[in-house]
């Protein structure tokens, strides 16, 4: 929980009679969703929000993919269900959707969106492309979720991995970036 500070500098007011009156409203500390008033008949209506915090619960894992050398795709749904073309999973494959936890103000809607439509995963000099990210609103769509009463909500992330013809075997890693913003 972050607090925001606002400072109103000293105002120097002079009466017509020449008397100098200095009213100082020094630092106001603003707490979330709480009106703050200061001395000197000052009034302030302040709305502030907790910065939504995003953290990883599970990585987006396309699992152990068996390739015969041809091109293929592995789509992981937001429920973690794979759809494969041209390749297969091992029976004990560890594939699953990404899961992200958002911590924010309870009951407040949060817009979530991808920063870019596709991201690479790399194995040294070798690369595959991941696209069609699904945050719950369908591939390539932004999505709105509402923070739960406990101040958190989990977001499931699906996407599609594109395996090239003759793709080098090995372990590929990468990352994706998303935004969360209060409506």
């Amino acid at each position: 929980m972050k607090h925001l500070r606002s400072s109103i500098k000293t105002s120097k007011l002079t009466t017509t009679a020449g008397a100098a009156i200095v009213v100082s409203l020094s630092v106001m500390t603003i707490t979330p969703a709480r009106a703050v008033s200061s001395s000197g008949n000052a009034e302030a209506d302040i709305v502030s929000l907790t910065v939504p915090a995003l953290s990883e619960i599970d990585p987006l894992d396309f699992g152990e993919i068996v390739t015969g050398g041809g091109p293929g795709t592995v789509a992981i749904s937001t429920a973690g269900v794979p759809t494969l073309a041209g390749v297969s999973h091992t029976p004990s494959s560890s594939h699953h959707q990404g899961i992200i936890e958002i911590v924010g103000d309870p009951g407040r809607p949060v817009d979530i969106s991808m920063v870019a439509p596709s991201y690479p995963v790399n194995n040294g000099a070798f690369t595959m492309n991941v696209n069609n990210f699904d945050l719950g609103g369908g591939p390539n769509n932004a999505h709105t979720v509402t923070v739960g009463g406990a101040g958190t909500i989990d977001v499931n992330v699906g996407a599609t991995l594109n395996v090239g013809a003759g793709q080098q075997i090995g372990t590929y890693t990468g990352s994706y970036t998303l935004n969360a913003d209060y409506q």
Binding site: L4, S6, I8, S11, L13, T15, A17, A19, V23, I30, S38, G40, N41, E43, D45, I46, V47, S48, V51, P52, L54, S55, E56, P59, L60, D61, F62, G63, E64, I65, V66, T67, G68, V74, T90, S92, G98, I100, V115, Y119, V121, N123, M128, V130, V163, Q167, I169, G170, T171, Y172, T173, G174, S175, Y176, T177, L178, A180, D181, Y182, Q183
Partner: protein, 194 residues
């Protein structure tokens, strides 16, 4: 990892300080901060990991056929001959109905090429018939690696070259009244990632 995209709250257009002074007598001053409203939607950006492991499909190569060599037999008794995969040696039962007399008896050998993941290897049939066109002998009790391993094992290819070579043994069984001849047949080996 989270970072606010705009850590500073913006003041709205109404965020102004209105100071009004009313003079009554010697001087009274009231300062009013009218409608200092601060509203800002704050965005967060986070980067999350992606993982994928690409592995080659399993390949099986038959390097050597399982061979019981040349066996002499008696028509009056059934007999058994065993090729041990570990020792690559043929032995016969104690009935003396089968006697090795030549040829080159040896265990079969297959090479599995895959990834650094466990692979289950198994024989398709528990027993098969070898035929000479008229008669048959039975080959059963297939064994990988050694007598204790059985006909279904799980192995992990060597990390260096991602291959492993498996010897295959079995037991040949003749029947009473068996006819002579050259008997051939086959059994399939399956290999799949676990």
């Amino acid at each position: 990892m989270t970072s606010p995209s705009d850590p500073n709250m913006k003041k709205s257009s109404s965020g102004r300080v209105a100071a009004r002074m009313a003079k009554t007598g010697i001087g009274a001053v009231m300062v009013t901060l009218s409608s200092v409203a601060m509203v800002k939607a704050i965005a967060a950006t986070a980067t999350m990991p992606i993982l994928a492991k690409l592995i080659r499909s399993v390949e099986i190569t038959v390097n050597t056929s399982l061979d019981f060599g040349t066996l002499a037999f008696t028509r009056d008794n059934a007999g058994m001959a065993v090729v041990d995969p570990a020792s690559n040696v043929l032995t016969t039962d104690s009935s003396n109905s089968l006697i090795p007399v030549g040829g080159r008896p040896r265990a079969g050998q297959v090479t599995i090429r895959g990834s650094d993941l466990p692979v289950q290897v198994s024989m398709e049939q528990p027993e098969v018939h070898l035929t000479n066109g008229q008669d048959f002998v039975t080959v059963a009790d297939f064994k990988f690696l050694n007598h204790a391993a059985g006909s279904r094992i799980t192995i992990t290819p060597d990390l260096t070259d991602l291959t492993i070579t498996l010897p295959v043994g079995a037991t040949l069984k003749t029947r009473v009244g068996q006819t002579s001849g050259t008997y051939t047949g086959n059994n399939r080996v399956f290999a799949n990632y676990q």
